[in-house]
Point group: C2
């Protein structure tokens, strides 16, 4: 059965230390229901994503039930779904599966995160996105101090990945900065973005070094926010879910392509489409170089070609393949359990021609890529979603 | 599409402070795969349940990916599912839905918990199964000290529920003790049970009072363990999943039956069966009175009749309706993220006539009831599963 995104909604992303996770989730859910023109009683199941609310707010076990009560939603099946920074694309996948199976006519996927109350605790919580028993060993392999790595482990991981890419393909720090600058220009056109200041390549390069070659403006920020989508049996005119694929890191010593490539291959096959059919893309740029790596693993560019393309402007609004028109994780923001659904929101607006100053003209096919955690030499989990209109 | 339980497996439940969550999960997964006579490469998706590993072991976000790597499983979609003490029945539900939808041919549901390393931390983690913002208010309403309630909040909740039942129906503490004694006799026949000492009603009544009328032997213990099930398109002779239904607490001021009753009604309707068709039941006796309340809400007994029935022996092995032949949560044990799947293991063995000294004769229809968390005046989530052979 063809499933559609009947409605989407999200809060502004940013730092709202006075707000709470249920409050954010309820705002996004209400916006998605209003956008779908349905009421609470139409929602037959909820897939609620959150990554670190247990550690940061002490709310484990029934996070979705508590959040949905704030939205006035109860009684129906509610599932709490966690998959690191890919939690809400995983929730979207399960909601899609439930509607596709005919188990329910209408499902709500909602993702929320509140991280700004305690920045140190937030960094430490992010550091649980690896096998925690191996964390010190991972830090040692990255050449980082164990204590330092706990606070910024993923920045070290991304820095290590991009340094390998620089060695292999001659990718330059200037090219990485071009990605960050491009996304900041996109974010400046997004009223829901956490940061709306257009930055130049020079600004990005001049910002504080986090772990070489990453500077502060190449790194996604700590933030708060929520995003939601209503899925139902497709009606004419709806944005359709053409594919959703989830893949995890392969077990050691198993020859396998990266999880992103395997997820993309599966998603393109489900949709009967290929990379050249895609008009607009949201990728998981937790750091700016991750956008480069993702675009190559997803099959949009040959290895080593995404960074020069960014520098040429091919991935900017108006370019050959606009990437992260929302501003991406670095500018729109990355409240981690909400990010996957924020991508779905953006692409739904793009396909409906509702994206205002950041609209990609005549977009008919859109792809979202959301990654989470780290395991071995890969992300722990990667999710690729394709929407069409 | 009819879905079957092709294989099940679990660890012994108990206190194994030296073991870790991935190690337990891997043991249960391997046992379920062996029981299904399949290999790792047959598993196309994993639904991994855990409730408090984030708080107790510091492993959030990718708990299932980490645990499955220990089992040699990777690459495939892995979803981390949380729903308090009903986490693994929720995971089972999602795995069932995936196979029923034809999304995968074979899925693994696995649930694990490791709680014995720090008893105080375990009690505090269990206390996150309510809206944590309302916890002090809940404690006050129960007449408990906030500090005390944090450590044993759910015992106060259950005590309050049963006191209302005693007031309404004349249920006695002796009847509650009869439930605990019966389940201890069942547990004594279960080689995988945490406790295998048959206790008398007098033993139960003489054990330390936790919160009146609950004594220690009426309360499920802290423990460690894992359980798993392989689900696939049904083959002849397989134990079949006739129904799975998940319901959550209704929002305030909405007249609604308890979530357990709504879940049971939905499950019986799916299966085309009713309470009198059921030969054997596993219910969520987190405390012994919870078995009484559940049996009435599920429709097996009229209100006020389950407690006298227990005292008469109707719910014992060899009785009219054997309940908790595994020993239930109080004797088999309750490593919370594993409990729902442990019930599925027990009922699968019962339906296959593999339950040894605790076998229910000629069992053809089995029902599992798994509840989680607390919200308002109800459990936060209730799951009912019906298996047939």
């Amino acid at each position: 059965m063809t499933v559609s995104v009947a409605g989407v909604g999200m809060t502004r992303f940013g730092k709202f230390p006075g707000r709470k996770l249920p409050d954010l989730a309820a705002e996004a859910a209400a916006a998605a229901l209003a956008d779908a023109d349905i009421t609470i009683s139409d929602v037959q199941a909820v897939y609620a994503a959150n990554a670190v609310g247990g550690l940061l707010a002490g709310q484990e076990m029934i996070r979705g039930e508590v959040a949905m009560r704030a939205a006035g939603i109860g009684g129906v099946p509610i599932f709490n779904v966690e998959n690191a920074c890919a939690s809400s694309s995983s929730a979207f996948h399960l909601a899609w599966q439930a509607v596709a199976a005919g188990a329910v006519d209408c499902a709500l996927a909602v993702g929320a995160e509140h991280m700004s109350a305690d920045k140190g605790a937030a960094f430490a919580a992010i550091g649980t996105g690896v096998d925690v028993e191996a964390r010190d060993e991972i830090a040692r392999e990255l050449g980082a101090e164990p204590g330092v790595a706990k606070q910024s482990l993923f920045m070290h991981i991304y820095a290590s990945m991009v340094r390998r890419h620089m060695d292999a393909y001659g990718t330059t720090q200037h090219q990485l900065a071009a990605v960050a600058a491009k996304n900041s220009r996109h974010g400046a056109a997004n009223p829901l973005a956490q940061y709306r200041d257009a930055r130049s390549v020079e600004d990005v390069l001049a910002s504080r070094e986090v772990v070489w070659p990453l500077t502060l403006l190449m790194c996604s920020p700590i933030g708060d926010g929520a995003a939601a989508a209503v899925l139902r049996r497709a009606l004419p005119g709806d944005v359709k879910v053409a594919a959703s694929a989830v893949r995890t890191a392969a077990v050691p010593d198993t020859p396998a392509e990266p999880a992103a490539r395997r997820a993309a291959t599966a998603a393109f096959e489900q949709a009967g489409l290929g990379p050249t059919d895609v008009d607009v893309v949201e990728v998981h740029d937790a750091t700016s170089p991750a956008e480069i790596l993702a675009l190559e693993e997803l099959g949009f560019f040959a290895p080593g070609e995404a960074a020069p393309a960014a520098e040429r402007g091919d991935t900017t609004l108006g370019g050959v393949l606009p990437v992260n028109p929302s501003g991406g994780l670095c500018s729109r923001g990355h409240p981690i359990g909400a990010t996957g659904l924020a991508q779905i929101c953006e692409l739904t607006w793009q396909l409906r021609n509702q994206a205002g100053r950041r609209q990609v003209q005549s977009a008919k096919v859109a792809l979202a890529h959301n990654g989470g955690g780290h395991m071995g030499n890969d992300y722990a989990v990667q999710v690729v979603t394709i929407l069409t209109v």
